[in-house]
Each structure stands twice: as C-alpha cells, then as structure tokens.
C-alpha cells in the first residue's frame, strides 16, 4: 500500500492552490459552475436594466439615484434620456440572450452534467473547455465596457439593424465606439460558443459509458447535443455578419449600407449595400439561437417531470425526434422575423408555412409532458414546481407564436408588444424556469447541500404569478398596436390611455424582480449552511445520482459505469423500489 501511495504521489504533481482549483481549472464541473456564475451575474445586470426600463416607461421624468454616476450624458440628473433608454434595452437584450440564455442552460448545466450523465470522467477536451469559458468571459468584459465609455452603449437593439448600426455616430449616441464594442464582444462570444459546441458533440458521441446507447441517454443529454449542433452551425453565420458590419463601420465597405443616404445632415459615403442582407444573416443565426435557448430547458423539464412523476417520460423516442425536428426546422424559418421587411412576399409565405410546421414538434413535446404526469405519482419539491411552470409558460408563449407566424396577422403585430409578450414568455420566462428547475434539481449534487425548500417555494410562487402578471398584459398592449422600443408614451394619442397597463406591469416587475433576491440569498446561504445532501436525494435514476455530492474530480473515482437500461425507469413492475438506476443490473421484466 505504501508503495502504491508513493507511486501515486510521484505521478500526481498537479498544481494545487486557489488558482488551479477554481480559476484556471480544467475540471468540467468547475467550468460549469464558472459559466453558471457568469450567467448569474449577467442575469442580475439584465434584470436591473429591465427595472430601469420599466421605471422609465411609467415615470419618464423619474430621477434615478446613482444613474448619473454611470452616465452623465445618458441620465443627466438621474433622468434617463430617450437615447439612453435605447442603450438600456439594447444591453438588456444582448446580455440576456447571449450571456444568460445561451450560457447557463447549455454551458452551465451541460458542462457540469453531460459528462457525468454519460459516465465520462470529463469532457473530451478539457483545455478547450477552459478556453471556451475564458473567451466567453472576455466577451462579457468587452460588452460591459460599453457602459463605461463616454457615449455609452449602442442604441440599435440586440438586433443591430443597419444602417442604424452601420453608419457610426451620425445615427445616434452610442453608435460610434459603443457599437464597435458590441460587435467585438459578440464576435468573441461566437468563437467561444463554437469551441464549446465542439466539445459537447465529441463528448456525446465518443465518451458514453458501456451500454449507454444514444437511445438510452437522458433527454438532457439529447438536448445539449442537439443544441450544440445548432450553436456550431449558427454562430458561424453571426460571426460572418458581425465581421461584415464591422468592416462597413471601420473599413469603408458597403455590405449593408446603400447609397444616397443622409443621416443627421451628414451625407454617407457608402453605396450599394443591402440592409436586408444583414437581416437575413442575423436571423439565420437568430432563429436557431432561440432554440438554443429553449432546448436545454425542454430537456431539463422532461427529466424533472419524469423523476417527480415516478414514471417514465411519455414517448421518449418522440421526444428525441421532436427535438431533432425543432433543430432542423429551426434553420429554415428565419424569414418569419422579416415578413414586412421588404423581402419577397412569396418567400414570406414559404417561411410562414415552415413556421407553422415547427409548431408541431413543440406541440408533441407538450402533449408528452402532459402524458408523463397522467397516471403519475406526483411529488412537488421546488424543481418540480419550476418544471410544471415551464410547461404552462411554454404553452402560453408558444401559442402567441401562432399569431405571429401568419403574415396577414403579423402585419398588425410585428414590432408591437405582442412580439415582446411572445418572446419573453418563451425565452425570458420559460427558458429561465428551465434554469431555475435545473438549479433546484442539481444544486444538491453540485454543492453537497440542499437548497432551502421554503425559500424555493416562495421564489416559485411569486415568480410564476409575477411573470404572468408582467407578460400577459403585453399581449393586450400589442392588440392596441403599441410599438416596441418606444421610450415613452407621450408621442401618440393612442398610447396615452395605455399608461395604466404599463403601471401594472411595472409594479408586477418590481415585485417579481425583488423576489429573485430570495433565490440569490438561498443559493449562497445554502452553499455553506444548507442541509447536507445525500447521494440521491430525489431518488432519480441517472448516473449523476450514483456519485457523491459533490462528485470527485474524475466523477466516478476510477469506476467505469455500465448501463443496463434507459434513463426513466420509474415504477417498473417487479422492481424493488419505484426507481431503477441506469447502471443497476437488477433484473426486471421491462427496462429497455
């Protein structure tokens, strides 16, 4: 024994210390947590921005303390100017879409749990993984820098349509340096994302444990896998678009800027470019992007619903096929963001039929979630609450898409609050609920302690009711034709009566925003003071629940798990307990 130990010590001269353990770590679990914290920081920045937006809409002359310190030109005397409002919403959208929704569900939970769920010691390429994280971090730093430059962040929205975004400072404040920083940040993010995607794909294909066929993988793994493919292919196009936009801005090219423009009395020298070209490239990325944001949440929801229903997921194969269909179709529907853009109305129609088609796999998934809880034996710990909430919110958000996907109806609703309602319900809420569900579910495994249930339930209830209170009324604003990205209601007669609705929404937002502090407190308090977690507190079946909480560095302590069955073997007739672990050789009559 001493000899073996000596050999071990000799072979493991790996560095210790804080830096190697927590900062530049190659361990996928550490990296996953780093991504999670990056997203956590980002979501609170994004949340703060949304609160500022909600304040300004109802009380445009409100003096907001400390804001003048951040931007003297943007908020003189603490009063948000119209241009600063646009900066705030641009950064809100950008931070939320990229640094929260593309990060936490995939890079956060995926990095942590994909290797463990497939029985691997780590991702296929740990160094590449670490690089991906730090490149993402660099992207965030560059983006955040836009807050601190004199002219402030760009005002062109997270969609950055040229020529507004392409002609520089002439089109508005923040459009000079701010827009450049935005483009560079996004380009960096694209690279990081693609590097991460490589890792996910290679890991899923090659590092699965013995007996873990693709059709025995947990649906979370399928979601991460398909999402990675989407990310790989779509972010490359965004990178291309960003490069072209940057060249138009600083290189004098005219990819997106046509001739004959006069912006703020300044004649623009570009000519021959097409603003629509940007829209096509951007949305070719942008549409798969929203599926990147939601697919992991769907995987987590399926996983959690099955676990707390004590029942296999209804229609596992259909669920896989549906996610695949969503992935594939996601690449051919981008034009539905552009029905009234001036593109060919014939292609508009083609895009709309395909868009309706993509509603079908989404419907299948919803039916299957309902099918899972039919005949179930439901338990309601907090992760289950958020998973059920996801289903409700996904239905609501998805259905508003049925309106928007039809061109004649989109004529009225495009660029109104109806669109805001739709994408917030689906992304800004359902996907977020997926993150919450994953957090409450996996926290015990990640930190070895349980999150506090009471705080969890308070968080769930206030948030669930709160988000309906915030976003359901936005449909009504859309019905009234209320345009998006208006910093005030004062410009139009038809908007003035709607102030009351905005007032309601803002108050709902304040309460819902505030309750997230309970979540934040719960998260950090429980890391140190939470009840100790057992190995499998939820009585779940997948491999992460066969290792200690938290897992050792190579996850399985040198063990090589062997898989005998699918991921959702609950309540199997003849089994000893109402769940059978994936790696349990127990012989039962069924067990795929």
């Amino acid at each position: 024994m001493a000899g073996v130990h000596a050999e071990a010590v000799h072979r493991h001269e790996a560095p210790k210390g804080f830096i190697r353990r927590y900062i530049f770590s190659l361990d996928h679990k550490v990296i996953g947590i780093q991504y999670y914290f990056l997203a956590l920081f980002s979501v609170f920045v994004g949340l703060l921005l949304s609160i500022l937006i909600r304040i300004h809409l109802v009380w445009p002359q409100a003096k907001i303390p400390l804001l003048e310190l951040l931007s003297r030109t943007g908020a003189p005397g603490g009063v948000i100017t119209p241009e600063y409002y646009l900066s705030l919403l641009t950064m809100h959208g950008t931070i939320m879409v990229f640094f929260v929704l593309t990060t936490a569900p995939q890079s956060g939970f995926g990095n942590y749990f994909l290797p463990i769920q497939i029985g691997a010691e780590d991702m296929a390429f740990p160094r590449l993984n670490m690089l991906s994280f730090w490149v993402t971090f660099a992207g965030l730093v560059v983006l955040m820098a836009a807050f601190f430059i004199p002219d402030g962040p760009p005002i062109s929205g997270w969609t950055a349509y040229p020529p507004l975004s392409a002609v520089g400072g002439a089109s508005g404040p923040g459009e000079a340096v701010g827009q450049n920083l935005w483009i560079i940040s996004i380009a960096i993010f694209c690279v990081a994302s693609m590097l991460g995607a490589l890792n996910f794909i290679a890991t899923t294909l090659d590092l699965r444990a013995h007996g873990l066929s693709l059709m025995r993988m947990p649906l979370t793994c399928w979601a991460w896998f398909i999402t990675a493919i989407l990310a790989l292919l779509s972010f490359a196009v965004l990178l291309a678009a960003g490069a072209l936009l940057l060249l138009d801005r600083v290189g004098g090219t005219s990819f997106f800027v046509p001739g004959g423009l006069i912006v703020s009395d300044k004649i623009i020298k570009h000519s021959g470019g097409s603003p629509l070209l940007w829209q096509h490239l951007f949305w070719f990325f942008g549409h798969p992007e929203v599926y990147i944001a939601i697919l992991p949440g769907m995987g987590v929801t399926s996983h959690i619903l099955s676990t707390f229903s004590r029942k296999p997921i209804f229609g596992y194969k259909a669920m896989v096929v549906a996610m695949g269909a969503i992935g594939v179709l996601g690449f051919v529907v981008w034009g539905h963001h552009m029905f009234i853009s001036g593109m060919s109305p014939y292609s508009a129609f083609a895009f709309s039929v395909l868009t309706m088609a993509i509603a079908v796999p989404s419907a299948i998934k919803t039916f299957n979630w309902l099918g899972t809880i039919l005949g179930a034996k439901l338990r309601f710990p907090t992760p289950m609450l958020f998973a059920l909430g996801f289903v409700s919110l996904f239905v609501t958000g998805g259905l508003s898409g049925i309106f928007l996907g039809q061109p004649p109806i989109d004529i009225y609703f495009h660029d109104t609050y109806f669109v805001l309602a739709h994408f917030h319900m689906i992304m800004g809420v359902a996907a977020i609920f997926g993150i919450f569900a994953g957090t409450y579910f996996w926290f015990p495994k990640m930190f070895g302690r349980m999150l506090n249930e009471t705080m969890g339930k308070i968080h769930f209830w206030v948030t669930f009711v709160g988000v309906y209170a915030i976003f359901m009324p936005m449909h009504f604003l859309g019905l009234e034709g209320h345009p998006r990205r208006y910093s005030e209601l004062s410009g139009f007669e038809f908007l003035k009566p709607l102030l009351g609705v905005h007032d309601f929404i803002s108050h709902a937002a304040f309460i819902t925003g505030a309750i997230q502090l309970v979540f934040l407190f719960n998260l950090f308090w429980s890391m140190f003071k939470g009840m100790k977690a057992a190995e499998n507190p939820w009585e779940a079946t997948t491999l992460e629940w066969t290792v200690p909480s938290p897992p050792p560095h190579d996850n399985f302590a040198g063990r090589h798990p062997v898989i005998y069955r699918g991921a959702y073997e609950f309540s199997v007739p003849g089994a000893e307990k109402d769940y059978v672990m994936q790696d349990s050789p127990e012989k039962v009559e069924a067990g795929h």
């Binding site: 020529p163 508005g172 629509l276 229609g315 009234i340 495009h414 208006y486 910093s487 038809f494």
Partner: protein, 266 residues
C-alpha cells in the same frame, strides 16, 4: 401543493381568457378594405389558440391535482407512451396549424401578390430621423428625382428636389400630412433617407418597413374618413417614440381642395 398549482393555473387561464373576451384592450375599428379579412383571420386564430390554451392549461391543472401522491402506496403507471396517440396528435396539430396558415393565404396574396389597380392614386412616403414627408406627383403624375446633396432643411427641401432643373419635380407636392380620398385605392411608395423605419397605421391594418436603398410599394383603400396616427414601427434612433404623422382620409372634394392648397404652398 397540487391543489394550489391546479387552482393558480386554472385561475390564470380563466382571467387571461376573460380579459381577451372582454375586449378591454382591442384593435381600433378597421378602416380598410382588407381589414375585415385580417380581423377575421385573427379571430379564427384567437378562438383556436384560445381553446388550445384553455385545454392545455386546464389539463395541466387537472392532471397535477389528480395524480398527486396521496401517500396511499399506489405506484405510478409504468408506461413508455402510446404510439397511436403520438401519431394522432401529431397529425391533428399539423392539420390545425398548417391549415390555419393556409386559410390566411388569400389575404396576404391580396395585399402583396397583386399590384395596385392601374388607376390607383400614387403617393410617396418618406421617412427620416424623426419625421415623415409625403410627396404627391402633381399633375404630370411623375415623381422627380431626389438628390441627397440638395437636401436642405432650411429651405424645407427635405427630399432634395431640384425644381429648377428637373421638370418632373417642378409640380411635386411635398407635405407633412398624408391626405387621401376615401374609397379610392392608394398606392404608396415607401422610401427612407437614412435608416430603416416602418409605416404603421393601426386602423388601416397596414405595416411596411421603409428600407434605405429600396422603394417599396404597398396599396390599400381607406373606407372611412377621419384622422389617424401614423407611427414609426422600426427602431430608428432616439426619436423613434415620437416619429409621428397623420393620415387624413377625406371626401374626394375635401381632398382636391387640400391638394390644391398644398400645391400653392410649394
């Protein structure tokens, strides 16, 4: 807990539907010939999605309550799914969603696949940061060329017309209000001087982006006189929220008077 979930989900569903039903916030009455068809397609979609919404949310609520663990030792049913059911609801969903879309085809076709009738009145709509200009071709029926280097706000030459040298632009009438006669087909040509804007009139059920570098035609017929707000509906900069003009739908008589008046002021 199951009861709470069920009740809250059910309550949210009922309240949401009630608010739609009550039409507290709703479209303004439509004033265009293609408006009724759009509104009808919307109602059809609302009814169908409304039914799906209620069924799905109430199913969720009911199933949650019904299948809660009652502590009676009962095991959940061990089922991996039902292929017949999968096939059924897949086909049903496809039929409903795609069918709904195809039903609206003729509306889109009527607006976009068919051009304006030959005798339609023509007006140009110009957008810039943050104002609208409208140009009538005048008696010659032709729009003169626009020269960006001739744009001069001081002399109100917003469109850069060269009236001295360009015969076509001599009789062009540039206004800040879009006046049109009622019940007459109008074809507008959307153009932008700087960034992308969008022309949106709620009552007309019309929306179309103004894309720099393009001249985009769209046609409609207004069916009621009145004054309506034109809103910019594509983020165009800090003044986006106040980029407003008015659509004045007048009787033929009033329109001719107005046009003559405007012509005199050029």
């Amino acid at each position: 807990m199951a009861l709470a979930i069920a009740l809250v989900v059910a309550l949210i569903s009922v309240v949401s539907v009630a608010l739609f039903w009550a039409r507290i916030w709703w479209f303004p009455p439509d004033i265009s010939t293609h408006g009724p068809a759009i509104d009808h397609q919307f109602m059809l979609t609302l009814v169908i999605t409304g039914i799906i919404f209620v069924l799905a949310q109430l199913s969720l609520a009911y199933l949650v309550w019904r299948n809660r663990d009652r502590g009676d030792g009962r095991r959940a049913s061990y089922s991996h799914g039902n292929n017949a059911l999968e096939a059924t609801w897949t086909i049903a969903a496809a039929l409903v969603f795609i069918g709904l879309n195809l039903m609206g085809y003729h509306i889109w076709a009527g607006i976009h696949f068919v051009g304006a009738a030959p005798g339609a009145m023509q007006v140009e709509v110009w957008g810039q940061q943050f104002a609208w200009d409208f140009r009538y071709p005048g008696p010659d029926g032709k729009f003169g060329s626009s020269h960006v280097e001739k744009v001069d706000d001081a002399t109100a030459n917003y469109l850069g017309l060269d009236r001295d040298h360009d015969a076509d632009s001599k009789d062009d009438i540039v206004t800040s209000t879009l006046a049109i006669p009622v019940n007459r087909e109008v074809q507008i040509f959307l153009r932008s001087k700087d960034v992308t804007h969008s022309f949106f009139v709620r009552e007309l059920r019309i929306r179309q982006d103004l894309v720099p570098g393009m001249i985009i035609p769209i046609h409609f017929t207004a069916t009621q006189t009145g004054r309506y707000e034109i809103a910019c509906a594509e983020l165009c900069g800090l003044g986006h929220y106040r980029m407003r003009a008015f659509l004045q739908v007048m009787t033929e008589e009033d329109y001719e008077k107005w046009l003559a008046n405007m012509a005199a002021q050029q």
